[in-house]
């Protein structure tokens, strides 16, 4: 082995040069200014926007996009496909086609929905709706070059609702990992890319729990913030029990400006036991305020911010799917009316 090295070394002369430059310390980071920004309102808007990051746009957009289909454009498929992470009974369209009228389909979507419904909404006992949906896709549908539907990723949701003339309670959960945009899904300039989980309750008890990230492709909160990240639990003050903090959420939420600065607003710990990161007891009190930090730097503390989340508790915080929305059969897809 040594002789080999000598032979190799003898083939070519090699001169190493090392230059040592004087160390120049980095310039101090100029903190981004929040002048002109209502940072509390920005976080409130972020929460209302997060409530729209759910499966419905992907599902309804797929349905709308297929309402234009021609007999074999796109083709519907059945059968075993191990490449799609979907149940075997999922309905699939897959194609690369153009109808010749400017409408084109590219890629695939696979979906499956289940719905159970019982009871009577007018009765005292009420009606129970239990629905689930799953979707997977790598699809772009366009008309004359304009994307009317794009879904790339996976998503699912579920709704359980009990409703009577005097009573309404629902729980809704959704997860979206992927990107959704297009005029037939999220509307014009309202797409998003996310890996987000939402669990919400409504009716007699209103709450919102959300974990993950979302980037809005066009929308900017206060013309500046394009993304949000969070692990947060909000409870409608009117639904708070005696042991709940009605003034502020638990957890944290961050928003990112277009220069990639993240602003994290940290509230009370998610759980009483999980307070390892909360060294300052004063910041763990239920006072309606969180501490605002600039992420990625050594504890740049902007101070206390007290957003008013009371305005988020509207009927439109979550676009709750209706019972009909859980059904999109093979026949409906193949023969749109």
């Amino acid at each position: 082995m040594i002789s080999l090295f000598v032979l190799l070394y003898g083939c070519e002369e090699k001169v190493d040069t090392v230059t040592v430059e004087a160390y120049v310390p980095p310039e101090d980071l100029e903190l981004p200014s929040l002048d002109g920004i209502d940072i509390g309102a920005a976080f409130t808007e972020a929460i209302t926007m997060v409530g729209k990051v759910q499966l419905n746009p992907a599902w309804q957009g797929n349905r709308e996009a297929l309402s234009y289909k021609r007999p074999t454009c796109p083709d519907l498929y059945v059968g075993e496909n191990d490449d799609m992470d979907m149940p075997a009974d999922a309905v699939v369209w897959q194609d690369f086609c153009n109808t010749g009228t400017g409408l084109s389909y590219s890629g695939f979507t696979a979906w499956t929905g289940r719905l159970e419904r019982s009871g009577d909404i007018e009765s005292e006992v009420g009606e129970i709706i239990n629905g689930t949906r799953q979707m997977s896709g790598q699809a772009v549908v366009s008309v004359n070059g304009e994307t009317i539907y794009e879904f790339k990723g996976v998503g699912e949701d579920s709704l359980y609702r009990v409703q009577s003339p005097t009573y309404d309670r629902w729980t809704y959960a959704t997860t979206i990992n992927g990107m959704i945009r297009g005029t037939e899904s999220t509307g014009l300039n309202s797409g998003f890319r996310s890996d987000l989980y939402i669990y919400a309750t409504g009716g007699d008890t209103r709450s919102l729990e959300s974990r993950g990230n979302v980037f809005w492709t066009s929308h900017r909160i206060q013309d500046r913030f394009d993304s949000a990240a969070m692990d947060i639990y909000l409870l409608d003050p009117s639904s708070a029990g005696p042991d709940d903090c009605a003034l502020e959420p638990k957890g944290w939420i961050g928003i990112r400006d277009e220069r990639a600065y993240w602003y994290d607003l940290v509230f009370m710990p998610m759980d009483a036991e999980d307070d390892a990161g909360y060294e300052d007891d004063d910041r763990s009190v239920c006072d309606g305020c969180g501490t605002l930090y600039l992420r990625g730097t050594e504890t740049i503390d902007y101070g206390q911010v007290c957003p008013d989340f009371s305005s988020i508790w509207t009927e439109t915080l979550i676009d709750l799917p209706q019972a009909e929305d859980f059904i999109f059969t093979f026949q409906q897809a193949q023969h749109p009316q």
Partner: protein
């Protein structure tokens, strides 16, 4: 060792005879323009599925009493699935016996409807002396109705609520008793019978490894 020594020596170029050069004809090549995206929207193209599955669901349903109003029905529904149009050895070939009784609530455009039980019949045994074609091993054959690929087929002994619209010539399905009616089978109403005939030709991924 040999290769290392060889690396230090000068490399002598091998002389290779090139084939005779063909006459070069300049082709007209359209210069790509980044200002105007190529317009492919007017060009019709359609990727064809590598495999097709032909679905044929058909049957005659008898309605009673004669001339109505109908309170009961009975008949058959044959479910056949043919891979790439192979009708000699269809992948799926089962027949439901269907019996139904009248229901109260119908879809908005429907004229009559039934709660129908679907009962998978045993295959008819071949008559004595009848030649039976054995399917080659490489041709997959469904062993039960659950193996068929048509989405949301009824299970054996499942009861479903279906109603018929004369105007639409369509059987509607009360989707798993949710009160939401979805189009199910096209059917023709003739002389106290419904002739169900549903045909689709769709893409097919295959039957899987099992």
């Amino acid at each position: 060792m040999f290769w290392i020594l060889l690396a230090c020596t000068e490399k002598t170029a091998e002389v290779v005879e090139l084939p005779e050069e063909e006459e070069y004809i300049e082709e007209e090549v359209a210069e790509p323009s980044f200002e105007d995206a190529p317009n492919t929207e007017d060009v019709v193209f359609d990727e064809v599925p590598p495999q097709m599955l032909h679905l044929v669901h058909s049957g005659i349903w008898n309605l009673a009493p004669i001339a109505g109003p109908y309170t009961t029905m009975f008949g058959e529904l044959n479910i056949q699935e043919q891979i790439n149009g192979n009708g000699i050895f269809p992948y799926c070939d089962f027949t439901f016996a269907v019996t139904g009784h009248e229901i109260d609530s119908l879809c908005p455009t429907c004229d009559f409807g039934f709660a129908i039980e679907f009962f998978v019949q045993e295959p008819v045994p071949p008559e004595e002396g009848e030649e039976v074609l054995e399917a080659p091993e490489e041709i997959p054959i469904a062993e039960s109705i659950e193996d068929c690929f048509t989405p949301e087929l009824p299970d054996h002994q499942e009861t479903r609520v279906l109603a018929y619209s004369i105007a639409d010539e369509m059987l509607y399905f009360d989707y798993f008793n949710t009160g939401i009616w979805v189009p199910w089978y096209p059917a023709t109403f003739i002389h106290d019978t419904l002739e169900v005939y549903y045909y689709e030709e769709i893409g097919f991924y295959g039957v899987g490894d099992d």
